[in-house]
């Protein structure tokens, strides 16, 4: 058996004159939950359609289970797609929908019945086999779509924005459930989403994609903690950014000059020399707000509270540092309870130099 369920090598796909997929190379490991994360129009869905066989790459090669997929039509590929709109057959019952792939493979009737019911049990739709899709809720339809793919035991299940059509509580529930199902069946999942939290919670690895290109591949923690660019950092979670000029580099720390603000100190990655322009990223939840300036060894900038947004579990403060620079600070309820800041108040924004990330421009 091949080590990788999916392998893409230098895949290029044009839609007319638009470059939808730009030299994408990636592999999905066997049994892995792999997500492709990116804004709409990044080419994520095209990637899935190339794997499903609905579209053909203009350049590059795709193999599934070590077998080249060139010239292989969708009905002969060992993949199943969970469509964003679910695409359940409205004229068939839940049973008929889930059994469809097995019937096309000419699996025996007795085996079809037992496998369909096992799949429906797994997605918690026991007893709904005789319903029609129109009689089901959105969440239930989603489960049918997942069961319809899983029941065939494909090499990889492709999911196109699987949770986008569900409302928030259901989405969070389904995130955990999808992950649990995937671990239970051990089939590789390749999921496409524009929702960073979804990708972070469900995935073993994530590929961040924009304008047809893969920007970074890594575990959720790698992507979140060490993004390779400010695009990735911003996309994976709102970041506060500020650009500046490196003045001095001392061991692993550099001092950065920012126009209109006091200089700051940050953990300095390699390859950055004095004089280079850099972007400093600080996550909103890593900021500490106080009325008095903190002690030495901590970065501190003056700011004015513009807005305080209370949402139960947390409070988000909008802070103006300079005319052009607005940051967000995200305080958990317990932090926010300790000290409340009023709109218009002049305060101090502080963070540990180790928490800031410096990216070469």
């Amino acid at each position: 058996m091949a080590e990788h369920s999916v392998e893409m090598r230098g895949v290029v796909k044009y839609h007319g004159t638009m470059l939808a997929v730009d030299h994408v190379s990636l592999e999905v490991r066997r049994g892995e939950f792999f997500s492709v994360l990116g804004p709409s129009g990044a080419g994520k869905t095209t990637l899935l359609r190339l794997l499903a066989g609905f579209e053909h790459p203009d350049e590059g090669a795709i193999s599934i289970d070590g077998r080249s997929m060139a010239e292989v039509p969708p009905n002969l590929r060992p993949v199943n797609l969970v469509f964003q709109s679910y695409a359940l057959f409205p004229h068939l019952t839940v049973f008929g929908n889930v059994a469809f792939g097995l019937e096309m493979h000419r699996v025996g009737r007795a085996e079809i019945v037992s496998r369909v019911h096992a799949a429906l049990d797994m997605v918690k739709l026991t007893g709904k086999a005789q319903r029609y899709p129109s009689e089901l809720s959105g969440g239930e339809q989603q489960r049918v779509a997942v069961a319809r793919a899983l029941v065939n035991r494909p090499s990889v299940v492709l999911l196109d924005e699987p949770l986008a059509a569900l409302d928030l509580p259901l989405r969070q529930e389904m995130q955990m459930e999808l992950k649990a199902i995937q671990q239970q069946v051990g089939i590789s999942f390749m999921c496409v989403t524009h929702h960073q939290e979804e990708a972070l919670t469900m995935s073993d690895r994530i590929a961040v994609m924009d304008s047809g290109r893969i920007l970074q591949v890594g575990t959720p923690r790698e992507i979140y903690d060490s993004p390779v660019s400010s695009f990735v950092a911003n996309f994976i979670g709102v970041s506060n950014t500020v650009t500046g000029l490196v003045r001095t580099v001392q061991r692993a720390e550099c001092s950065i000059e920012i126009s209109g603000l006091p200089p700051i100190v940050a953990r300095c990655p390699q390859r950055i020399a004095a004089g280079s322009r850099v972007t400093v990223l600080v996550r909103p939840e890593r900021l500490i707000l106080s009325r008095e300036a903190p002690g030495v060894g901590v970065n501190a900038l003056p700011a004015r509270v513009m807005q305080a947004l209370y949402s139960g579990k947390e409070t988000v403060y909008l802070l103006r540092l300079t005319e052009k620079l607005t940051w967000k600070a995200r305080l958990s309820s317990s932090e926010a309870e300790r000290e409340r800041f009023q709109v218009g108040e002049e305060i101090c924004v502080a963070w540990d130099p180790q928490e800031a990330l410096v990216l070469n421009e």
Partner: protein, 282 residues
């Protein structure tokens, strides 16, 4: 299904209902009564009550005409479906702007009088006509084929005339068919034929049925096409009715023939609706 929006006043339907009542239902009733009357000595209608006209239609001569009409109408419907489905699917999958252009092209023949278009077919099909000239010039045949004035000519004319009636309802359902359903079937290992039989056809059945009714019913009663393209001995019910009313001037027999035709259509549509209801309730 319940209607959406505000309840509309009933009189909105009144003009059309009045029109249909006066100009359709009343004449129909008159024809119905005539079908039970007797023929006067010099044409005309003698008002008696007799079933003799219907009994006369049981003659094998007339039964053959009904059988031929049914067969030709059925074949016309089948060919229109075979030709129309791929065309409608092709149009429905075009970009929106091109769809409109295609639909106009399907409709263009309607801009010319049906009679003129049928005469054109005579020029195409006759022994020294366009078809034979081309086939002879290409050396595909050595002797001209005699198509005109045969059942084949009628069939060609009927298919030509009624194809748009098949394409439009099929286009309407196919354009509403979610393309991802076709892709889903394909993704679930269905070969192209299985995609068609298991997903596309069941989901477009209403359009198929509407198209078949729209083609079958007028084809069954057609009389211009068989009159011009058919031979002297190939009559359809439409010609029989025309013949009885206008040539023989046996109005009662013509009226009875009309009602048998109508009865066949009504029974056919009723049977179809019954089957559909059973399918839906099962």
């Amino acid at each position: 299904m319940s209607a959406q929006g505000p309840t509309l006043p009933r009189w909105l339907a009144a003009p059309a209902l009045g029109w249909l009542g006066v100009f359709f239902f009343v004449p129909l009733l008159v024809v119905f009564l005539i079908s039970f009357a007797a023929r006067g000595t010099y044409g005309g209608v003698t008002w008696t009550f007799t079933g003799a006209n219907y009994a006369a239609l049981a003659d094998p001569l007339y039964l053959r005409i009904y059988a031929r009409s049914l067969a030709l109408a059925a074949l016309t419907t089948a060919f229109c479906l075979l030709l129309g489905y791929p065309l409608a699917y092709y149009i429905a999958r075009q970009p929106a702007r091109r769809q409109a252009a295609w639909l106009v092209l399907v409709m263009v023949p309607f801009w010319t009088n049906f009679l003129v278009r049928t005469y054109a077919w005579i020029f195409i099909l006759r022994t020294e006509g366009l078809l034979n000239t081309v086939l002879l010039d290409l050396h595909l045949i050595t002797d001209p084929v005699e198509i005109l004035y045969s059942d084949t000519a009628i069939l060609i004319g009927l298919i030509y005339g009624y194809l748009p009636f098949m394409v439009f309802p099929l286009y309407a359902t196919l354009s509403r068919l979610d393309p991802s359903l076709v892709e889903a079937a394909w993704d679930l290992y269905a070969r192209p034929w299985a995609v068609f039989w298991r997903v596309m056809l069941p989901l477009t059945r209403p359009g198929v049925m509407a198209g078949c009714i729209l083609v079958f019913v007028p084809a069954l009663g057609a009389f211009i096409t068989p009159d011009l393209l058919g031979g002297a001995r190939t009559m359809m019910v439409g010609n029989l009715i025309q013949h009885e009313f206008l040539v023989v001037r046996d109005w009662p027999l013509g009226a009875a023939a009309s009602f048998v035709l109508m009865g066949m259509v009504v029974l056919g549509v009723a049977a179809y609706m019954r089957v559909e209801r059973m399918r839906q309730s099962s």
